[in-house]
Point group: C2
Chain length 204, copies 2
DNA sequence: TAGATTGTTAATCGATTAACAATC
DNA sequence: TAGATTGTTAATCGATTAACAATC
């Protein structure tokens, strides 16, 4: 069975709403209400849930909240905790490093920078230590928050250390081997797109 | 003529590559090479460019770099500069505020916070001043970088001030009127998805 | 002219939505 | 039983890709 990217990307949304419902003491949820909450189609919700869930929903009643939360968490692999490193301890890098709202076992463990002054010996280290640490800790996810000009170099280093997924905040298209995934987070582009969406009447 | 979201979101990518080519003194580009650079399909590139471009490409030669850059910039509305405000001057908010890599007339002009200590009188102000300033400056794009618990309240305030597009970094689904656009940037969810993409063999 | 590259028209592919019988 | 809600099968919709004649 094959899960589409579109479905995968909706999973964290479901998880968020389901957990919030659970906190309210609710035990069942219908696809209709879940869809409404997220602005989706209820059939789509049922299809999505069917993809990751072992147990069925109950007609007339809905889905068991605990079961479906469990199923999504398992699907997303929330048992093996996800350690992540950052290269580039500028403002953005430090903001992410100190961002305390990460949920679900996602954990940014440390940052690296080439500027000795930024290193503090606790969670910011010199980039020369990267290879050793990343390999030893068996980390596979890296975040790039260095300036554009240094991004490809950092990327190459990460790949060399065995990083398999890169979250890239530098506005540049990184060249990586086929087995490495890059998610680009071009903040500038995001703002542009957002602004076009409100101004442009020709968007569908 | 109607432009799809998918096409719109590729425009900043084209723009970036085209500008970089221009810097190298290149004057023409083929859809094939542009596609290859971005990992896209060349037919798709031609279709996309045709959507925003008045002038045609020249068979056997390609597209005129200057013309196509102009066309994309015009399409994205890069004449009217885009002023943006942030609410939440924590680490993430300040990182965005001070992020100096925004291009193309996108400009985060100031941030607001309810904590008086964070206000500096130059570009961070108390949230009580928001309504007045936003209305006076006629700003239509806002960024939310406050904790989850305060996000909806801030969102309501923004809507009330005439903000039409919200870039939301709080992990919560905001309720907004139909005429307001929300782009969610759930950092936690992004990392989860990224991690699943490398671990999960069942993704297509 | 020959080779490269374009734009157009048609085909494919996959995601979303609709219709509906089955179940609690 | 009646109402709500499910899962399945088929239809729709739109984006991507292929085929190809036209053009530089």
């Amino acid at each position: 069975m094959c899960i589409s990217i579109a479905t995968l990307e909706r999973m964290p949304q479901y998880l968020r709403v389901l957990k919030s419902l659970k906190q309210q003491g609710i035990t069942n949820v219908s696809s209709t209400s879940l869809a409404k909450e997220l602005g989706l189609n209820s059939i789509q919700v049922r299809k999505d849930l069917a993809m990751v869930s072992s147990s069925d929903g109950r007609p007339g009643v809905g889905f068991d909240l605990d079961e479906i939360i469990d199923d999504i968490e398992n699907f997303l692999g929330l048992n093996n905790s996800k350690d992540v490193i950052i290269v580039g301890a500028g403002k953005l890098g430090q903001a992410l490093l100190n961002y305390n709202q990460f949920e679900n076992d996602v954990n940014i463990v440390m940052a690296f920078d080439k500027d000795e002054e930024k290193c503090n010996g606790t969670n910011i280290f010199h980039v020369s230590k990267l290879k050793n640490l990343v390999k030893r800790l068996n980390i596979h996810i890296g975040i790039i928050t260095v300036p554009k000009s240094a991004a490809q170099e950092v990327c190459d280093l990460m790949v060399d250390c065995g990083i398999k997924a890169i979250w890239n905040f530098a506005p540049i298209n990184l060249k990586v081997p086929d087995n490495v995934i890059v998610k680009n987070e071009d903040l500038s582009a995001s703002l542009l797109i957002l602004s076009k969406k409100i101004s442009g009447g020709e968007i569908k």
